[in-house]
């Protein structure tokens, strides 16, 4: 009846515990396999979706517009799946966009740094010292990714209901803790929490509809009422608001659209230098 979202500083450990927890709870496991469906449905390369999920924005990498669209597609698909309940989700960054939903247990797994370094050293055939540095680099990069794309520091424990250190507890013990924690009534779905999740899913669908044509947009939904925030040059504000309203209004489940367009100061500054 609930949802577990697992995040970890080690993808391997996160996946292992998420899969074991799903098995133990009799829930569905939702992981990177979903990217195959997203790629097929929207005719985008799966490896590009992986890249958007794993690599921090850089000058030579994927453009922010393309990355924004790919992440929006993944978010929409993941939220759609989470509406089905009884799911353990890992590897789709759901801990950064499933926020404020009381029947979602958000868990952070901290891998044992030495064990991680040994695993990397074995896998990549490098020295333990080099492996330790790689593990540290990956943690920093992952934290930067979460801040760049969702403005949330994923390493901040206050974002989670449960933080388990594998330096102190084994994977099986971590799974037992998840099962036990889900026994608390506070993680049962209720009218309010189900509505929060539906609102997030509707906002994600509207965002996907808008992001290709309008670039960066912030979308919030409350019932069928949707609020969109975006930027435009002063002279384009009215037209943009009308266009956004038209596109968003066509998304199923949307009854009313409110658009806030603020002045795009960066574009304005760029134009004034021409």
């Amino acid at each position: 009846m609930s949802i577990v979202v697992v995040s970890s500083d080690s993808r391997e450990k996160g996946r292992e515990i998420a899969a074991k927890a799903a098995e133990s709870l009799g829930y569905r496991y939702l992981g990177r396999e979903l990217l195959e469906t997203v790629a097929r449905r929207h005719d985008v390369p799966r490896e590009k979706l992986e890249e958007a999920l794993d690599e921090s924005p850089s000058l030579l990498g994927m453009s922010s517009k393309v990355r924004g669209r790919y992440l929006a597609l993944v978010q929409m698909a993941a939220l759609g799946e989470l509406l089905g309940d009884d799911v353990v989700c890992h590897g789709l960054a759901a801990h950064l966009y499933v926020l404020g939903v009381s029947h979602v247990l958000r868990m952070r797994i901290l891998a044992d740094p030495e064990e991680e370094a040994r695993r990397v050293a074995d896998e990549k055939q490098v020295s333990l010292e080099k492996a330790r540095k790689q593990v540290e680099r990956r943690k920093k990069s992952s934290r930067k990714w979460s801040l760049d794309n969702y403005r949330i520091d994923e390493s901040d424990p206050s974002h989670y209901d449960l933080v388990v250190s594998l330096s102190q507890l084994g994977a099986d013990e971590a799974v037992k803790i998840v099962v036990q924690t889900l026994g608390y009534r506070k993680f049962e779905p209720m009218t309010y929490s189900v509505k929060c999740l539906r609102d997030a899913e509707l906002a994600a669908r509207v965002r996907v509809a808008l992001v290709e044509s309008f670039g960066t947009v912030e979308v919030r939904a409350d019932g069928g009422r949707v609020v969109v925030e975006t930027h435009a040059l002063k002279r384009e504000k009215r037209k943009k608001a009308e266009n956004v309203k038209e596109v968003a209004g066509k998304v199923s489940g949307v009854d009313f659209v409110e658009v806030h367009v603020s002045t795009d100061v960066l574009r304005k500054a760029a134009e004034s230098f021409r």
Partner: protein, 168 residues
Amino acid sequence: MRGAPPESGEGGRERGWIGCMKTRNDSKETEMSEEINVLLLDDEPIVGKRLKPALAKIGCQVEVFEEPAKALERLDEKEFDIVVTDIRMDEIDGMQVLDHVRKKSSRTKVIMITGYAMMSLAREAMEKGAFDFIAKPFQPNDLRRVIAKAAEALGSSIDFESAAGHDA
């Protein structure tokens, strides 16, 4: 899951349960009742005014209160099937009402409604034994759907769909 016949009350208190014989002890008056007894508490008069007829349509006998203290007094007199309470009120808040009901009756379903919904509050209410938690504003149908669920949990059934159809 029907409950046992009502126990004799004390000092003229009445106890009712869904779909069963209801007894008033002092007067020895008995009556058959299929109605679901709902106590609705909200300090905004418009809420009770709007929801009372909406719940009556699905067979609920609704008593509306705007003052929490008076609602608590009534809860001491009678075991309701369902209590619907606002959370943020002066003097006594909805969480205190929930605690009060939980001490008096394990079978009464408590539905919390609030215009200040947030995750921590929702979790606290559920952990304290609320049956459900609804954010305001909501449509009467949203509450009726939850009331129907609560009635089902109490072993009764409500024709929620036909009432919803009437409103459509």
